[in-house]
């Protein structure tokens, strides 16, 4: 079987079965490291660290990287498209169904319970990140940003820019850890 077909099958599989986003793809990615040797588990944990400094979701980053290291730009393209393809098909199908059955009472009732659950999941992610990353200086930065954002709505770029600059300065004075 050609490498391109293998890449397609593996990453299509991940796109289809990873559920819950973000780090839900990780078990699949470790499985690939075991079976195909496209990368080692050490390389994978490096890649996960890397994906926190490159834009984009972890799953997409690792797909591109794995495709690229095994078979160049074409491999990267195939792996990336494959991981997205199931999403594309499913979302279009769900959108069409939703447009058709929006007035259905069961659909409305599911949306009614699903939305607060989705919100709760995001809040849990936030708290988890808070517990794992925070220290005193981080707390100061956090409170500063909250105050800056409390009185007027600011662009996300403001928070990312200010916090990146603050990190750089804190790092320069050895204060980040």
């Amino acid at each position: 079987m050609s490498i391109y077909l293998k890449l397609f099958l593996e990453f299509f599989h991940i796109g289809l079965f990873s559920f819950g986003g973000g780090y839900a793809t990780l078990p699949f990615l470790y499985h690939i490291a075991d079976v195909h040797k496209w990368y080692t588990t050490k390389q994978l944990s490096d890649m996960i660290a890397v994906s926190s400094i490159t834009p984009g979701p972890v799953g997409v980053n690792v797909a591109t990287f794995a495709g690229f290291t095994t078979s160049g730009v074409l491999g990267a393209l195939i792996a990336t498209v494959s991981v997205i393809l199931p999403s594309f098909i499913i979302v279009i199908a769900v959108s069409k169904l939703l447009n058709r059955f929006r007035e259905n009472k069961f659909v409305q009732s599911v949306l009614y319970t699903l939305k607060p659950a989705g919100c709760g999941l995001l809040a849990a992610v936030g708290v988890d990140m808070f517990i794992n990353n925070i220290n005193i200086l981080g707390m100061v930065l956090l409170i500063g940003l909250f105050i800056a954002g409390a009185f007027e709505k600011r662009d996300p770029l403001f928070y990312l820019g200010v916090s990146a600059a603050a990190g750089l300065i804190a790092g320069y004075f050895n204060l980040t850890f």
Binding site: F19, S52, V91, T113, G120, G167
Partner: protein, 183 residues
């Protein structure tokens, strides 16, 4: 701004470049671009896409972007949106692939991303606040929020299980209403 394929691509490309820290910030970024700045959709619609994006398989940021793109301009809009979201990620990995490992270990890079991690926390907080105001409308939805929050946060129940649970609760509520209505 007019809804053209090029504008959809451009907007999602911008969001894609700011999508740092693994994809969780997709919601605040899209709120800022699609709702606040461009008025292309309402907060309610985006919150709905986010809830649905979490309930189907695949990468959440990609799912939400495809939902939003489809709403804007059907299948071609969905294609423009997903291309825009993925391109910055794709380009960054291809260009940096050879030096990524050294890059991660550079001290100043680590410092920057320590800071960005805090910025992301603030963005997530504001996003939760926004979604809360659109989805917690009564005591029952408030109960659903805290139930999911605690089961996920404290008991580490996988998101997929909680989503399926929420869907069943929704179906059950309506079934009960129907039976009561018929009696």
């Amino acid at each position: 701004m007019e809804i053209t394929l090029y504008n959809i691509f451009k907007t999602f490309f911008k969001v894609g470049t700011m999508l740092l820290g693994g994809g969780y910030v997709i919601l605040p970024l899209l709120q800022s671009e699609l709702v606040d700045k461009k008025n292309w959709m309402s907060d309610e619609e985006l919150c709905e896409y986010y809830a649905l994006g979490q309930s189907i398989p695949g990468i959440i940021a990609a799912n939400v972007s495809i939902f939003a793109g489809y709403k804007l301009k059907k299948i071609s809009g969905a294609l423009a949106a997903i291309l825009g979201i993925v391109s910055p990620a794709f380009i960054a990995i291809i260009v940096l692939a050879r030096i990524l490992e050294e890059l991660v270990n550079l001290k100043f890079v680590q410092s920057i991303f320590w800071g960005v991690g805090i910025g992301i926390l603030v963005l997530i907080f504001f996003a939760v606040k926004e979604v809360w105001s659109k989805s917690i409308t009564d005591k029952f939805t408030c109960f659903m929020f805290f139930l999911t929050f605690i089961l996920s946060g404290c008991f580490k129940i996988p998101p997929a299980v909680l989503i399926i649970f929420a869907i069943f609760i929704g179906l059950w509520l309506q079934a009960v209403k129907k039976i009561e209505g018929e009696e």
